[in-house]
């Protein structure tokens, strides 16, 4: 498995929006962690049933908040998955991408919990 990037996320946008409101900042971090975990669970469920369209929809929904959190590596993977035509999906490639995404986002959650 490819090594994870050194810097998995960038919270500068969130800090800017929080504008010194630490309670808000921590609330948003916590919210992201929860949403992230729920989404990854859903994705796994859909993957088991080979429901690739549903996976694309979930990832499409996650993209904006992942963008806010500056998780560039994840954004790139989601873009690749979204751009894959459903009738052209190579399950093995798809599976590798999802696994990579899963790893990145889980590690993000681990590191975010330390904040």
């Amino acid at each position: 498995m490819e090594k994870l990037p050194d810097k998995l996320f960038d919270l500068s946008e969130l800090r800017t929006i929080a504008s010194g409101d630490n309670d808000f900042f921590l609330h948003m971090v916590s919210l992201f962690i929860t949403q992230n975990e729920e989404a990854l669970l859903e994705i796994r469920g859909h993957f088991d049933k080979r429901e690739f369209a549903a996976i694309q929809q979930i990832l499409h929904k996650m993209k904006p908040s992942i963008g806010v959190m500056g998780i560039t590596a994840a954004t790139e993977i989601i873009k690749q998955i979204e751009e894959t035509e459903l009738h052209e999906i190579d399950e093995s490639v798809f599976s590798v991408l999802l696994l990579r995404l899963d790893t990145i986002l889980k590690e993000v959650n681990v590191q975010l919990r330390l904040i």
């Binding site: 929006i17 929080a18 504008s19 409101d21 948003m28 949403q35 499409h60 993209k63 908040s65 806010v68």
Partner: protein, 466 residues
């Protein structure tokens, strides 16, 4: 630094203090993203923001009529297009900004056609773009409110009892006619000498009618060259004639849903009269060089200083057009027939002039009042206003003396003839009055100039005939 100054991309521009509280609903099923937008927009203390996660929650709250709704196109319970439709139905004044992850142009275009104000894709700079769009909506709303306020003010200005000053029976009759005219769409024909306030009456009717928020278009028929009158009134298509480089809408179309005021209608040549008659009868027109008929919805008010019945007898005005235009006739009497109103008007003009020019209020000496009452005012109210404005300027104190009242130096016999038909006796008195004014009431001199006896003049003065 305030949060407004910190976050506003336009922080160099002063915050619009005149804008009141602004309500925004955010509809976003991604809780994180919704709260992110909410917190960002909340940095403006004038914004009151609420976040909804579903279309149904939003619809249940539409009765609160927010100013703006930011709407995610992909909601879990309802299609964004359907939500937009509901918003347009229940809150037509609410602006909707679609904030979506989809970059599909055709979807964006469809939503804009269905009434969305803007479409923003959720990308890196989307929060700034949303901020700017909301600011623009807010400014447009403030401008719209200002326009409505100004329209209301214009309406108040043309509150006819304040705009048309007077206490005479003639004026009271005019108030009554204006009120009747403004309640319906009937054509109005206004007659009266120059300077009697025909346009003022036309505006009073318009701004007190249901059409007051729509255009008031005035055309002075005598000021437009004959060759251009038809194109000015009815418009033309591109290429209709040499020089017609673009399409031009005419005054009739400009006045759509409003009022068209045709001043000096008696000066219209007979050829255009035929076309005008057809347009008024059919309530539609075809631009010069055009093929399409354009339906008309306007009220027509015409005015003239001429006697149109006489013009009809002379063959210079069409009888059928005359009767079409007649509608509700309003005749404005010349000022010399409303002597009761001369001093009321004079006082009004003096007060208005002093207020406009930050001067102390003035009052009229009894001699000045007398002098004002004696003059025939061939130029009617317009002339009286000019006399009073000049008198205020020329006065040395707070009291206007008779020396401050200066009538036109170029009073010629022709001006009296233009003042309308009078008896020979009335003409004589007018001439004598003008000479007395010119020569500062020097009776012996005036008697000599006019070739009449001094005793005649003294007797006329004693009997209040001059």
């Amino acid at each position: 630094m305030s949060t407004w100054e910190k976050f506003s991309p336009w922080s160099s521009i002063p915050k619009p203090e005149s804008m009141s509280s602004f309500s925004i609903f955010i509809v976003e099923d991604d809780k994180f993203y919704g709260e992110y937008l909410k917190h960002y927009l909340s940095s403006n203390p004038d914004y009151s923001i609420q976040h909804f996660l579903t279309g149904k929650e939003l619809i249940a709250n539409l009765h609160r009529k927010p100013d703006v709704i930011t709407l995610d196109y992909s909601l879990p319970d309802m299609n964004g297009a359907l939500v937009l439709k509901k918003i347009r139905q229940y809150c037509p004044d609410t602006q909707v900004v679609i904030v979506s992850g989809q970059k599909d142009i055709s979807t964006a275009l469809d939503l804009l056609k269905d009434g969305a104000y803007d479409y923003i894709v959720k990308e890196q700079d989307s929060r700034t773009r949303l901020w700017n769009v909301i600011l623009r909506i807010r400014e447009n709303r403030a401008l719209k409110n200002q326009v409505e306020q100004l329209q209301e003010e214009v309406g108040r200005k043309y509150d006819f009892e304040k705009a048309i000053i007077g206490n005479s029976q003639a004026i009271r009759t005019i108030y009554s006619l204006i009120e009747k005219a403004s309640k319906t769409n009937i054509n109005v024909s206004i007659t009266g000498e120059t300077g009697t306030g025909k346009e003022l009456v036309a505006k009073a009717i318009h701004y007190n009618s249901s059409r007051r928020k729509k255009p008031f278009v005035a055309v002075n028929m005598s000021a437009i060259p004959r060759d251009l009158l038809e194109s000015e009134l009815f418009g033309y298509e591109k290429g209709a004639f040499t020089g017609a480089d673009t399409r031009k809408t005419g005054k009739f179309e400009e006045a759509t849903e409003g009022t068209l005021f045709l001043d000096e209608i008696g000066d219209m040549n007979i050829a255009i009269q035929a076309k005008l008659l057809r347009v008024i009868q059919e309530r539609e027109l075809v631009r010069i060089g055009g093929k399409d008929t354009i339906p008309l919805d306007l009220r027509l008010i015409v005015a003239t200083h001429r006697d149109l019945k006489e013009e009809v007898s002379n063959g210079t005005f069409r009888q059928d057009l005359y009767y079409r235009l007649l509608g509700l006739p309003v005749h404005l009497p010349p000022l010399r027939e409303r002597t009761n109103d001369i001093l009321i008007l004079a006082k009004h003009f003096a007060e208005a002039f002093c207020k406009e020019n930050n001067l102390h209020m003035v009052v009229f000496s009894s001699e000045a009042s007398e002098k004002l009452l004696r003059y025939p005012y061939p130029g009617n109210i317009r002339e009286l206003k000019a006399i009073i404005d000049l008198a205020v300027v020329m006065s040395n104190g707070k009291v206007l003396s008779q020396e401050d009242i200066i009538f036109s130096q170029s009073s010629k016999p022709s001006e009296f003839l233009n003042a309308g038909e009078m008896t020979l006796d009335e003409y004589n008195r007018l001439i004598i009055k003008s000479y007395l004014d010119k020569y500062m009431d020097d009776i012996p001199l005036v008697a000599k100039k006019l070739g009449i006896g001094k005793s005649t003049l003294y007797r006329m003065k004693q009997n209040d005939q001059i």
